[in-house]
């Protein structure tokens, strides 16, 4: 063999091997189970058994309750022949459960699926499951409060450093600014770390002790919360150290502020929206402007209250000059971010996210008018040494501060629901009063998907197919497969029956866990021509 041939042969051998492992699809099929699918038991099972058509290696087998929490304190699973057994350490309380599994066959292809059953009561009693579903979001409040503190502390810490760099303040104000920055960098560091555990616990929808489980922390660390802390934590430490010096080094202040701002850019809807680099830049500008403005308020109030009118006026004028630029950047960047997230005027009022955003914009408008009032009228009067102006101005700045806190709270509330951009990704969406509708299309096949009531429990999925001209489109057959990636649930599959040409409906009671469910729709235009359409449906 010549060198070239040897190389080619080795290359081909490698490719061949890859094919062997990659194409080796197993089709391990669940034949039966105990409890049987959709069965209702009087008492809790002590063991779960899954019977397959062939020998399988389990990756995981778990029992989830209606909140998506693992239940029954499972012991180690064992494999006997074609059966997989999962003994339960504790008995299951009355309720609806899902056995979620993922197994791997001798051929190395993993197959996932799920088995639904109930103990002591009918499957997916909608009322009780909906109540239980509410418990799953028990982590929401702590996450939101922590995030609020994180936002406020982050803005104030970075802002204090920025102000130190650009303003030339009298010594007492420098001290105010330094202590504000130090306190806030401490809070920032603490909340950044807490965010990891709280976020992880929320992702696992765990109970109260989930925060103390390493799983929550490792999940949180693996998410963008981890990368955020990687930047923010060093940033807050640098700021804390730098601001402790009599003459803080400009380099350290910039580095610290940069890291803190950066920590906000690696996470969240706004900064990660495509085009990512541009949006990150826009969000960075927005954050710098906010930090600058917010962090100035407390020292300015101190200036008005403690300094002589002329000195305070000079400080205010120095700040106002730069604040005009900051406010301009703030408004422009805010508009860009809002537009990218909401994408249509109608969405401002039609979606939860849009309404919250409008609320935030309203707060900003009030704050701005107050700021303009302070700048245009009160500062002038202070310089003209009107009696009593200092008090009014201090009060007005105090009000601005409170409004700023409210704006921060509004910003946190925006991080809670998915923005319309995320919902729009599959082609268009309206949030109906009951249920959820969305659309998708693929090479000439359009489908509108309606899920009612889009809450945990029994749901009806309605699919309506249409062609490029919007005419109802008859198909040879339709299949759907549902999965909930966040709970590793998959393998819920159904074949549809046409009610009339192009309309299919499915009744499902497998949607017992709230979350972002993915629906894959296999639409067979004819027996050999399959189009795959995908949509994501939030189940409350």
């Amino acid at each position: 063999m010549t060198g070239r041939r040897v190389t080619a042969a080795i290359a081909f051998f490698t490719v061949g091997l890859l094919f062997t492992s990659r194409l080796a699809f197993a089709h391990a099929v669940l034949l039966d189970s105990s409890p049987a699918a959709e069965s209702v038991l009087d008492v809790s099972p002590t063991e779960i058994r899954l019977g397959f058509n062939e020998n399988v290696g389990p990756i995981f087998v778990k029992v989830l309750d209606a909140t998506g929490t693992e239940s029954g304190s499972p012991l180690e699973f064992r494999v006997e022949g074609n059966n997989v057994y999962l003994p339960l350490g504790n008995s299951l309380a009355n309720g609806t459960y899902v056995v979620a599994y993922r197994v791997i066959s001798a051929d190395t292809h993993p197959v996932g699926g799920s088995v639904l059953f109930a103990v002591g009561e009918p499957i997916a009693d909608v009322g009780s499951v909906a109540d239980a579903g509410a418990d799953a979001s028990g982590w929401r409040a702590p996450v939101a409060v922590n995030r609020f503190l994180l936002y406020v502390a982050g803005a104030l810490a970075a802002g204090s450093a920025l102000l130190m760099l650009v303003l030339n303040l009298p010594a007492p104000l420098v001290e105010t600014l330094k202590s504000q920055g130090r306190v806030c960098s401490l809070i920032l560091g603490t909340t950044l770390v807490l965010a990891i555990g709280l976020g992880g616990a929320e992702m696992h929808a765990g109970g109260g002790s989930a925060l103390f489980a390493s799983l929550a922390w490792s999940t949180g660390l693996g998410s963008t919360l981890g990368s955020s802390a990687m930047l923010g934590l060093p940033g807050s430490i640098i700021l804390w150290l730098a601001l402790g010096k009599t003459k803080p080094a400009a380099g350290l202040l910039s580095l610290g502020a940069l890291l803190v701002i950066g920590s906000f850019l690696v996470t969240g809807h706004a900064a990660t929206a495509p085009p990512a680099w541009l949006m990150a830049l826009v969000v960075a500008v927005h954050l710098v402007a906010v930090a600058f403005w917010f962090a100035a308020l407390w020292p300015l109030r101190q200036a008005v209250r403690t300094l002589a009118a002329a000195d305070a006026g000079a400080v205010l004028e120095q700040f106002s000059g730069r604040a005009v630029v900051a406010v301009g950047l703030l408004i422009v960047s805010g508009m860009v971010i809002s537009w990218v997230q909401v994408q249509s005027l109608a969405s401002f009022t039609a979606t939860d996210y849009g309404v919250r955003l409008l609320f935030k914009v309203g707060l900003v408008a009030i704050t701005l008018s107050l700021a303009v009032l302070n700048k245009q009228r009160l500062t002038g009067r202070l310089l003209a040494e009107h009696s009593g102006t200092a008090k009014t101005l201090a009060r007005s700045i105090g009000a601005e501060y409170v409004l700023m806190l409210l704006i921060m709270a509004a910003a946190v509330s925006l991080t809670l629901p998915s923005p319309p951009r995320a919902l729009l990704a599959s082609g268009g969406v309206t949030v109906a009063a009951t249920g959820f509708t969305t659309q998708a299309s693929k090479s000439g096949v359009n489908v509108s998907v309606e899920v009612t009531p889009a809450r945990t429990g029994e749901n009806m999925i309605m699919l309506k197919f249409s062609d490029a001209n919007g005419e109802a489109m008859a198909l040879s057959s339709v299949r759907i497969a549902l999965s909930l990636p966040s709970a590793s649930l998959e393998g819920v599959e159904r074949e549809g029956e046409a009610m009339m040409p192009g309309s299919y409906h499915f009744m499902l009671n497998e949607l017992i866990i709230p979350g972002e469910w993915e629906i894959r729709i296999d639409a067979f235009v004819d027996d050999f021509d399959k189009k795959i359409l995908r949509v994501t449906v939030p189940i409350q």
Binding site: M1, F19, A26, V29, D107, S477, D527, F528, K530
Partner: protein, 207 residues
């Protein structure tokens, strides 16, 4: 490219790849472009434990002159499609119609779910080395139908540097791919009388 045929002939890997799979597949997985070739479609199992009583296959674009093996135990049916414009083969003969689908059915002689069934035909493969042919197939069972009809959105080509990645993307995105056949450039023409060779040309390597 010559080496590819040689290497693959020497390595049963290609066949292994196919035989280990759990879905319908065709053999050979590598075939010389432009040859008239015997093709076997293998059905390795039924639909989730249900026996198969009908197997259907769609002949891809560019594959002509299909003839189906006679089966005493299965009814064979072919569905034709028009070839427009007609293609001209040897001696100026025109092909205006070709086999579009083949189906094998016989509810009496169902294929047990745990046995492999073979369905054979012969066809002229397109003279397009590097192209991957996909033979979409369906198994109709006593209960349900298995569809092996997933194909890539863009055609795959062996000469494309992204070939392996694209192939992997396809295979990892679906558990029901259509059976595939990769066309490779033949070492020499199909029929010995068309060979330009001389006796001293070395034999294809076979190590």
């Amino acid at each position: 490219m010559k080496t590819l045929v040689t290497a693959c002939a020497a390595l049963p890997v290609c066949l292994l790849a196919a035989s280990a799979s759990g879905h319908n597949y065709v053999m050979p997985t590598l075939a010389p472009a432009g040859f008239v070739h015997d093709i076997v479609m293998r059905v390795p199992h039924g639909c989730k434990g249900s026996p198969v009583n009908k197997v259907r296959i769609k002949i891809p674009e560019g594959v002509y002159r299909v003839s189906v093996e006679h089966r005493e135990d299965w009814d064979v049916e072919v569905k034709m499609r028009q070839v427009d414009p007609p293609i001209v083969v040897e001696a100026g003969r025109e092909i205006t119609e070709t086999v579009d689908q083949i189906s094998w059915s016989n509810p009496k002689y169902v294929l047990p779910p745990d046995r492999i069934g073979e369905f054979r035909f012969r066809a002229m493969l397109p003279n397009e080395p590097g192209r991957v042919l996909f033979f979409k197939t369906l198994n109709d069972c006593e209960e349900g139908t298995d569809y092996y009809v997933d194909v890539p959105e863009e055609p795959l080509d062996l000469r494309d540097p992204r070939f392996h990645e694209d192939f992997w993307d396809l295979m990892s995105a679906t558990a029901t791919p259509a059976p595939y056949m990769i066309l490779v450039k033949p070492e020499r023409p199909q029929y010995p009388w068309e060979w330009k060779t001389d006796a001293d040309k070395p034999l294809p390597e076979n190590d």
